[in-house]
Symmetry: C4
């Protein structure tokens, strides 16, 4: 009974994540004329910036979904505020194909930075919405389960602080060098794939180790 | 056992809402040529009407989903009539990307009103389908759970009356001023994000306050 | 435990139905130039054939989903054969946007019939796949629940015979008159929205009326 | 309780599979001008390579979904590694519409092989990701249920070895003859629709037959 409140919110979010992650591929265009092999190979090879941007966005959305999943293992109840903040998060995810296509086109134009700036800005907004969602739910255990582990909540809160921070740095890099910026975003996504547990055991809550042992 | 009848109807609706809300973004086009930064910024900035229309439609569909979710916390059974009325609602939601794209293009053409009129008309049909769905299910408790709270049902019924009414007003504004009309639609969506509870406690059923206290 | 086997098959099918029904809308194009109101109204009005074809396809897919739902209230188990036949059904549904777009374009060209013929052919294949799925599952109660009502199974089997039959007639009309053919398809879809129960009580199994009374 | 860990992973994967399988159809274009019947028929007939490539991709993704379903009847738990490997699999599936469209265009150009090579390469990556996912989960029963049948796990592991092997052969054929290569891919998909059980009973574990009898 405890985890029922958020069932449809999760199902709807899964749907939006799934469609958004798949629509990214619509940006990859195939050549409109029939070409000989010797002309097709270089043409397809020249599309690698699109592939880099595509995979970075795919990884970011996919790993954002993994974290959405992690959050809702803690969040057991839903209210109007949570629904609206979740919509805000979905809005930032759904719009991602646009800056992805843009930054892919400009990836090899080292003197132009507008596209990369917009790309990082979207990621920044995404991570802010994500944090808002979590802090809203976790504030005074508002929407969490009764048996939630305090240390786990703290560990998640700590890790998510790095979201807006990391994407601020990416945003700064975007003004200087587009390719480095996109590679940085890719590794930032991988960082968030790591579970929040490790920081906890390294942090000050050493006396709680015997507590964490008994959770699965 | 009681809430099983509508499981797949909800899953299918979640899917349609999720796809429809994501397809809206396909309307946002990126410039087809590579431009220098100083040309790209103004070009992107000039696309704000598209963004306004997009966010308004996103908010409306998202909040319509929140309300769909609310309804199906009350509706426990499904029959053919409910399925057909639900399809009617989904039809009006799925078609929304078309008037959204249209009204975005005409948002800054203050002398042209056709696009805004069609946009509001779609919202009007959407809210009518929504009301039909609810009144069909709630009529004599046809498809609601046995333990449904009468006052909650009345509160929802009351709030949803404002749907067709509100969009009629928006429709009137569309003939006069497109931007005001779209902003009005955006705030109308936000109004429906508010839960139906508050109107109830303000309404005539004051003697039932001790009843509502014990529901969570 | 009994209805678990088909859970993911239903979820996946729901997803495909939801995406297919929403992609239909991508066929509706908006004018690419900005027009004055007096030019826009007639242009949009001239798109009614697209709307007629769109609504017919939407209704057919939606009602096919309602019937898919009905079938899987009886089908409790899944095997490889059922999965493959279900994929065949989904294939015919997913391809529908193509003939829909085609027949919409040719709806007002009364002397051309190719589009309508292909449209009906798709519906015919769809209803055949649907019947195959059902007869495969219902044959000797292969995949049905243990407590399935025989008369209900017979009633469903009987109603679904009309699918290929009805679309054969539509196919015949397509060679003569496209608009009548599409209207016929629309009403055929509505016919399948009717539950299979009524034919049963009208049929020869009159002695079973007291049985059907006690079901839900 | 045992099969709960992977619930949302399955729901998200179902969504991605459903969208990817439906987006394939966007590659099928309809003629942009209105043509007379006698011109339309040959034009549509000339699109058969698109249909062949489309159906091959549809079958491959659909049957990959059937196998994903089979795997997660064994896999009961999810960790970060499984989530990331699942994303890798989804990435390879989601990108499929691009090589499908490409190979469809070049299917009748018997002297050009680039498209078919890329098509098979995608399938090869797909089957490798699939195997990685399975071996990661099955290694020392890492994420399987406690009551998993060893012989079934071995049978699955054995069958999936044929994935990368089969697509390597397809890759070889792609350098020689595109149509044969695509037909080969189609039948390879059908091979994976067969359940993994039959190889087991044929294999060395004959003494376990009485064990397998009592599983459903």
């Amino acid at each position: 009974m405890e985890d029922k409140d958020t069932g449809r919110l999760e199902a709807f979010s899964d749907g939006v994540f799934a469609v958004a992650i798949t629509l990214l591929v619509l940006n990859i265009k195939i050549p409109s004329q029939i070409l000989a092999d010797k002309d097709l190979w270089p043409l397809l090879s020249s599309q690698w910036p699109m592939l880099v941007a595509y995979i970075t966005s795919f990884a970011t959305v996919g790993i954002m979904w993994i974290n959405h999943n992690r959050l809702f293992q803690q969040i057991k109840h839903a209210d109007t505020g949570l629904h609206l903040l979740n919509l805000l998060l979905l809005l930032s995810i759904v719009i991602l194909p646009v800056p992805t296509a843009l930054s892919a086109e400009y990836l090899i134009r080292l003197d132009q930075h507008a596209a990369a700036i917009i790309y990082c800005e979207t990621f920044f907004l995404m991570s802010c919405s994500f944090d808002l969602l979590w802090y809203y739910a976790a504030h005074h255990n508002r929407l969490l389960g009764k048996d939630t582990d305090k240390h786990e909540v703290m560990a998640i809160s700590q890790q998510y602080l790095f979201g807006p921070l990391g994407y601020s740095i990416a945003f700064g890099i975007a003004w200087i060098n587009t390719p480095i910026c996109i590679i940085f975003c890719f590794f930032l996504a991988l960082f968030f794939a790591l579970p929040a547990r490790s920081p906890r055991s390294l942090s000050a809550n050493r006396d709680s180790i015997h507590v964490s042992q008994e959770q699965r």
